[in-house]
């Protein structure tokens, strides 16, 4: 069985692991990125490459010594360096003596043949397309369950009576979803996990602020890369809503774009008629949508040196003024300290409180 690994993106590894094993691969589970991961990545990545490339490289350097033969990752859409990172990672890993290959899943809508070829490489069991479809459907359902539970923690954490209780319960119930295998088990595990989370004692009268999170996909989805900003905000009484979840992002880039009130593209149109790569346009559009939905503030997360987000940040100044919504930007890299982040977040919460008035 080929030994396969993939990037660590929040809790999604639980679903990918199941899928890869179903297709007949041995999965080396990527560890949650830690300082060790970062040290490894920073040592071997180009200094001015963006933060995700360093964390991903560090993750691979933690798993490769365990005999990884194949790395599965996704490609990029539009002009953003991240689209080339798979090739760069492969070169660096090979130069370090790891005989690995990289399979890049590009959006099937744009590259259908390439996609099918990639799927074939990840299917040593030679399952039929129908069987693969069933496996993907189950993995997809698990991914949805994981996203739904995470969203629930964002609502409960700012209202919890005992600090840290939500996180503790969340860590426990994730294992229930992890163990679920059949479609019925997954649905049942999600239901039980959600019920357990709802049991966390909450204060319904607490003043809670709503903050939208926008920015680059990886630093949004991997809490270890953003110093667990959502958890920190939750402890300050802020309910966050993240603009990107893995299920939503995958859907937008595979079969259909999300239409809520209006698409992110349309919302961004008056400010930015062009795709500028990465998630720059999404950051602008989502800020407009959050403002229209009456959020108290927006936080933009971006890897240091990320061009699309730098452009978006400049535009967000105007969006902020036009809609009267405060926007706070964090550029993240291995130098970012948690203390500085907490200071700014505390001030941001004070700002929202004083703006709102007594």
């Amino acid at each position: 069985m080929p030994r396969v690994t993939f990037p660590h993106v929040g809790e999604s590894y639980r679903a990918f692991k199941m899928l890869m094993e179903d297709l007949g691969n041995e999965v080396i589970v990527p560890p949650r990125p830690s300082r060790r991961t970062l040290d490894l990545g920073v040592r071997h990545a180009p200094e001015f490459a963006c933060f995700p490339v360093k964390i991903l490289l560090g993750t691979y350097l933690e798993t490769c010594p365990q005999g990884v033969e194949l790395i599965v990752t996704t490609g990029g859409v539009g002009p953003c360096r991240a689209g080339h990172y798979a090739q760069l990672h492969k070169k660096i890993l090979r130069s370090l003596g790891y005989a690995v290959d990289v399979v890049v899943l590009e959006p099937p809508r744009l590259y259908p043949l390439d996609f099918l070829h990639s799927v074939r490489r990840l299917n040593p069991h030679r399952l039929s397309f129908r069987a693969i479809y069933e496996c993907v459907r189950r993995a997809w359902r698990k991914l949805q369950a994981l996203d739904n539970l995470e969203k629930l923690t964002h609502k409960i954490r700012p209202r919890e009576l005992r600090a840290g209780e939500t996180t503790r319960v969340y860590r426990r119930v994730l294992e229930w979803v992890d163990r679920a295998y059949t479609m019925r088990e997954i649905v049942e595990a999600e239901r039980a996990a959600a019920e357990e989370l709802q049991k966390v004692p909450q204060d319904p009268a607490r003043e809670v602020f709503k903050v939208g999170i926008v920015g680059e996909v990886y630093v949004l989805l991997e809490p270890a890369s953003n110093l667990e900003i959502e958890e920190a905000l939750g402890h300050m009484g802020v309910e966050v809503e993240r603009s990107i979840f893995l299920t939503g992002w995958t859907r937008d880039n595979t079969w259909a774009e999300t239409h809520e009130v209006l698409t992110v593209k349309d919302a961004a149109l008056p400010y930015l008629p062009e795709l500028l790569g990465g998630h720059g346009r999404d950051s602008v559009g989502n800020t407009v949508i959050f403002a229209k939905r009456g959020f108290h503030g927006v936080i933009q997360l971006a890897p240091f040196t990320c061009i699309p987000e730098i452009v978006a940040r400049t535009i967000l100044t105007r969006v902020s003024r036009d809609f009267g919504i405060p926007v706070l930007t964090f550029f993240l890299d291995e130098q970012t300290g948690k203390a500085g982040m907490i200071t700014r977040l505390e001030a941001f919460v004070d700002l929202m409180r004083r703006r709102k008035g007594p």
């Binding site: 996180t167 405060p326 505390e346 001030a347 700002l351 008035g357």
Partner: protein, 318 residues
């Protein structure tokens, strides 16, 4: 006994204390160097300010701010522990009613706060670069052997400032040295430096912010008349430096403590006696997960009163 409120601002370079009366007037203020030993600085400050207070004054509340706010808060029993952005905004509103813009440059950070109708509506703080903060000016003054107090005055003597690269302090220094070797007079170089720092500040921290008057300039660097003049030059409007510009954070913290005590009706202040207690800190690496957080612990007379640095609640003091 007349009630008074104590504010303590423990920053990277300076530790400041202020005592306000109930009307919000400054009864006593102190500006000390932290010298990398915040506990000592706080204890020295407490001892000294206790002696400066007029008789018949009792501390009815205490607030802490600055990067050492949690440490100071645990030491003195703070009623409120506030970030320095909010504290500075509160103080600026007290000293200059109607203020719409606060420029603050401290030892290692610089911030801009935008207020409208007495409410903070936007702020920014330097992130990846500390060029142009007090530490760098200190360093340059020392290199040129000019007392920091006279640094700004020298800039005002210049009629023909030279252009200095202000993006990075190391390159700024190289550029200054280059200009010196070319034979430019010192006042022109210092004024050039002040202008470079202000340009850097406005292009980074102040980027995209709507700077409207009244503009207040505070923090340790506000003592530098050269920087103040450069701000006025680039903004094209007068810049107010309040009398107590060096201790504005402490004043804000004291005011926030007064508001907090008015709400709770009691104070947690342990009294000036904490200046004589024995405080000890130690740190260790947590082995709970690969994050290996560096945990710092603080002991008061042998008892743990605070822990910092963890990314999870494992080491929270109950």
């Amino acid at each position: 006994m007349a009630k008074a409120y104590l504010g303590i601002d423990v920053g990277s370079v300076s530790t400041n204390l202020a005592v306000l009366n109930e009307a919000g007037e400054v009864l006593a203020g102190l500006y000390l160097r932290t010298r990398g030993r915040p506990i000592e600085a706080i204890q020295d400050g407490l001892r000294e300010i206790a002696g400066l207070l007029p008789p018949g004054v009792a501390i009815a509340g205490v607030g802490t701010t600055g990067s050492g706010r949690y440490l100071a808060g645990a030491m003195v029993g703070a009623d409120v522990v506030k970030n320095e952005i909010t504290a500075h905004a509160v103080a600026a509103c007290m000293m200059v009613p109607g203020v719409q813009t606060v420029l603050e440059i401290g030892g290692q950070d610089s911030k801009i706060i935008i207020l409208r109708n007495g409410v903070v509506v936007d702020f920014a703080m330097n992130t990846v670069c500390a060029a142009g903060t007090g530490s760098f000016l200190d360093q340059q003054a020392a290199r040129l052997n000019i007392p920091i107090e006279h640094f700004g005055e020298l800039a005002l003597k210049s009629t023909n400032p030279v252009r200095i690269a202000g993006r990075c302090t190391v390159f700024a220094e190289s550029d200054m040295i280059h200009k010196q070797q070319m034979g430019h007079p010192l006042p022109d170089i210092i004024r050039g430096l002040c202008e470079a720092l202000v340009r850097n500040y406005l292009n980074n921290v102040g980027k995209g912010k709507e700077i409207l008057p009244p503009v207040v300039f505070q923090g340790g660097v506000a003592a530098n008349v050269g920087i103040k003049a450069a701000f006025e030059h680039y903004l094209g409007m007068p810049v107010v430096v309040p009398e107590h510009h060096k201790i504005m954070g402490a004043i804000g913290a004291a005011q926030l403590a007064a508001e907090e005590v008015a709400r709770t009706g009691r104070t947690n202040f342990k009294g000036f006696a904490v200046a004589e207690l024995e405080y000890r800190t130690r740190s260790f690496l947590c082995d709970g997960c690969p994050n290996s957080c560096e945990i710092a612990e603080m002991y008061e007379d042998g008892r743990v009163i605070g822990r910092w640095g963890a990314r999870c609640p494992r080491w929270d003091v109950v």
